[in-house]
Symmetry: C2
Amino acid sequence: MSVYQATASAPVNIACIKYWGKRDTKLILPTNSSLSVTLDQDHLRSTTTSRADASFKKDRLWLNDTEEEIKEGGRLATCISEMKRLRREVEEKDASQPKLSSYYVHICSRNNFPTAAGLASSASGFAALVASLAALYKLPASPSELSLIARQGSGSACRSLFGGFVAWQMGSLPDGSDSLAVEVAPQSHWPDIHALICVVSDDKKGTSSTSGMQRTVETSTLLQHRIAHVVPARMEAISAAIQARDFDAFARITMQDSNQFHAVALDTDPPIFYMNDVSRAIIALIVEYNRVSVANGGKLKAAYTYDAGPNAVIYAPKENIKEIVELIVKYFPQPEAFKDPFGLFGAAGVGEGKLVDGFNPAVAKPFGVGAVKNLIHTRVGDGPRVLRAEEALLGTDGLPKAA
Amino acid sequence: MSVYQATASAPVNIACIKYWGKRDTKLILPTNSSLSVTLDQDHLRSTTTSRADASFKKDRLWLNDTEEEIKEGGRLATCISEMKRLRREVEEKDASQPKLSSYYVHICSRNNFPTAAGLASSASGFAALVASLAALYKLPASPSELSLIARQGSGSACRSLFGGFVAWQMGSLPDGSDSLAVEVAPQSHWPDIHALICVVSDDKKGTSSTSGMQRTVETSTLLQHRIAHVVPARMEAISAAIQARDFDAFARITMQDSNQFHAVALDTDPPIFYMNDVSRAIIALIVEYNRVSVANGGKLKAAYTYDAGPNAVIYAPKENIKEIVELIVKYFPQPEAFKDPFGLFGAAGVGEGKLVDGFNPAVAKPFGVGAVKNLIHTRVGDGPRVLRAEEALLGTDGLPKAA
């Protein structure tokens, strides 16, 4: 008897032009287009195995070894039934295909980064779910077509169906069939873009992005201006910057749009804050680092961006990452040694950090150990990968293997 | 020989609709109208004595016992010469008047609140300067006419020429002659509006409002929308709320406009932050305090507002101030006993504070002693006062008396 099973991994993405606001909360249609960089799965990824079997009694899903309820009409159920619908189309065209669409599925998913890292795992998670089911079902669908389904799991998940630089085009159709992800440029176009994630400790329980963004849609008097007038121009400008590998323009727009996303969150009633004093201090450091470069006749060397939480993601050309790590470590002593996946520092390690010449140390005060809990160095990466059978997360019994 | 000397005091004002941005930096003409509450001079005031004498060799000014340079073409020089111009008009109409406009002046000014309190003293300071010179020169000018001159010292100073609730109408004329303060309602219309100022400790040197607001004008893509579409409607709505003594509407608009001012500061490139984690925690407390009231069928009971710094000003009807002090003290233990100018607490004092029934204590974490350095309880107050000769700050020699 055949085993119908496939395993795929999918990457995290971090937006440069931010998604904030839905025009349709059920279909997850956004109020504006957005654009992100896909991060390397060698460092951060979700891995998912999906299996269809006539013996299964219901659809089941395990996330990080805990079984999750698949609520009827919920986002998970929608994604699974949409994937089964695409499989049914394959079966209807080719009667020789096994009727997998009529079988229940078991799905097992794991993230290789701790939840405590505060990184949104829903994007990589739903992308890996969709990618593994597409492999299981041998769908002819393109990444853009699959992105339509991942979008209904978690909006930003649609952007994790591609590597490189990815736009989520907001679309205009009421059924959402034109609200999908497209590749702006592949990883290979600009592989030099690296990212340093500063995982920031936070005492405060934040507002969830799902409820927060709708409160902004309902109460911010500035959001509509952003949607209608600011984002369209920025989407064009940053796409052009990516095509031209113009880091200066890319960085400027990325920082401006991060700021504006947090500005409309603050313009919400009651206001929403995601950044804290540590986040603000990291911004001050990057602003000063860029100021020194520009004062010396150079260009912007780094760009910060913040999602719905206090963590900073710093984009920079690879050649600047060493200086940036030294800068961050100087103000934010690390509880553990910097994991140095690209071998920037050699055996001696980072040490106590240092500042570039001309840097004004008074732009921020040094914090205590652990204010920035962890630094993750990664880079632009590729799209979802179909993995070999040996990497499956489900055992021969169709249940999760021990982690 | 006659002594020509007058002393006046002027109040602090705290805006509900914020002034942020100049369309003319020399004349200090704003990009939008604003509206403030004048605070009681019994608690916070600037006091200024001005004297004109034929024997003086130049215009001189002492601020808090330190002599300040009066720079040619600077704001101080502009205010003094404008006041002399008005005096000259009086002298030209009535030849019997002494020619005070041709004498140099000595001016001595003191604030009764420490600079360390982080309260902007330029508004009360320039208002007191103008009020004392108006008294010295026996000008027939109305407060609105004097506000045109105070405005050229410091924009928000124009609003300290009136008590109660005051609008600064932005005007449209290039010479600024219609950019002046008007009374929306006097103190006596709604004397029940009290204010609790939370003086917040800050490690960070903030961006000055003068340079910050122009960076916002130059770089924020949201500011123009605020100016053209948001503020005009809010000015009308809050004026109506004041006329109707509708605290619920007054509070809602005040908080929304504070948030939006900080939102456009954050939308600036590089971004400007004035609030810190303590400021954010106070917002969370007031939001929760209001939520409990509304959940019980009541209305908003307090409104926070933040100027270009981390200090909170909380407006509330007098009857709510006791609960608010108890709330703030619960999360922000005070280094010194609460000065209780209205006798809310009796001999036992505030104690360790407490929460109203139904308040969710998890909305903020408690801070250490001194995160909020000081609490100042005051209320809506009157406009500038001309004081008696005994209260003069200049001695018979025309130099500052010992403090």
